[in-house]
Symmetry: C2
Amino acid sequence: MTKLVAGIDIGGTNTAYGLVDARGTIHSRGSIPTSAGVTAEALVETVSQRIRELLVQAGPQTELVGAGVGAPNGNYFSGCIEFAPNLHWKGIIPLTSYFEKQLAVKSLLTNDAKAAALGERLFGGAKGMNDFFFITLGTGLGSGIVANGSLIYGHDGLAGEVGHTILIPDGRPCGCGRKGCLETYCSATGLRTTYFEKTGTRLEAAAICEKALAGDAAAQETFIRTGEWLGFALANSVAYTSPSAIFLFGGLAHSGELLFKPTRESFEKNLLGIYQNKIKILPSSLQETDAAILGAASLIWEGAA
Amino acid sequence: MTKLVAGIDIGGTNTAYGLVDARGTIHSRGSIPTSAGVTAEALVETVSQRIRELLVQAGPQTELVGAGVGAPNGNYFSGCIEFAPNLHWKGIIPLTSYFEKQLAVKSLLTNDAKAAALGERLFGGAKGMNDFFFITLGTGLGSGIVANGSLIYGHDGLAGEVGHTILIPDGRPCGCGRKGCLETYCSATGLRTTYFEKTGTRLEAAAICEKALAGDAAAQETFIRTGEWLGFALANSVAYTSPSAIFLFGGLAHSGELLFKPTRESFEKNLLGIYQNKIKILPSSLQETDAAILGAASLIWEGAA
């Protein structure tokens, strides 16, 4: 009998799901628009139906042992999505209880970055690491912190908001309503703003990356400045939990040395002496297309280990 | 049979020791100058002799079950004091092995702020709390972070250096060799510097406190500015581990509302929305004279619980 976990990632646009075994292999998968569910409960019903179909296809020698879910503002302790600004359902949504009702297995929820951090630990480059940071550089900056061997949830399930530490007081306006948050500088959105401030031109992050690789000075300076900010912020961050590595994930992390070189330089320059030359900044080893499903499934596999 | 733990605090000037029971009562105690030990091993020998004498006085119905030690740059994992700048012994000192040899019981070591954080959890205001910060405001700013129910040591035993996060880039010179560290602003030393910058007069922190209480404007502004900095830094700090409370300990924490009021105001003002109005900033409930011994003893009692 092969034990499988349903890994489900609910995003602002799409909801991806898949069946994941204990070794991190995704046996089968699918995706539907999140808007397909007028209510969250309706979406859970549809996704659960699809998962049951995948299980039938997987054959009689398989068994579903749990459903892990990653979602914006997903609270591990309550199993609820709480006031997610970029989902069309409002208020507090008891998501894991919906899944448990539909699938009759244990369901656990956390936000997408925390789930991916667990995925990195179980199935990626952080295997065996008890202390690391996982940073997603996408539209915003998300984070999952593993310390003393466990993912840090905080007293309310809302730990790991490194993207909303203030980098520059009274700096750029942030979606959270405050100013100067790290994610307004170090994210795909932040990169675009920095490039726009330098050139007056609005480009997507991927286009700025292409220009930088082709030798464009303004685009290269944009990456250097972004790396300087990120390295500074990460140098401060490690003083809390002293991780052995920091994994960068997401669109911006694919720009390779364009981002990693200035980030590492600024990181080492700003580090307290006792931390210098021993904390690695690494690209995540999770595939972009797999990370969300693997991460969500890790919520269940972690407890099963 | 009453089980007792030796709690030992090695400071730059004095080494305090005491016998602590499982409920946090200090049965007996003593202190000697740290300089009494020409070598660390000699100090351990003398302190161990004193502890054996206290045990004899405690009577035949007592048993020593461990020796917990707090010391600057004390590394929990290695049991060594590593390159402590304010002790007269140099290099790496295998302190717990010295104590285990002398006392024939298990010995554990960490730095003073982490030990005191454990003391707050076992015997103080953080009983039952799984996520909190413990901040010492003395000559510097020390910190111990408890998350997911355990004290965070980090991959190398060196987590919890919140005092060395950079508050103001290129700011005040710090003893660590960098500039703008939080502890150069938020500590007794920082308070004195701020007052000196405002007035041109050098006063001790206690004298600035007295002046502020007597209505002196510059002294009051000094506390307000210190609280603004501390509140801002703590608002950023909670984004890592989302603690339910932050305990302030040490000389500066005794200034009461002079410090707590501006700190709380700045903290709430700078907090991310999801954390507002739910994280308490509290004075430590540990007595100044007991905290170091209780904290050190907590290293052993924590594991015994």
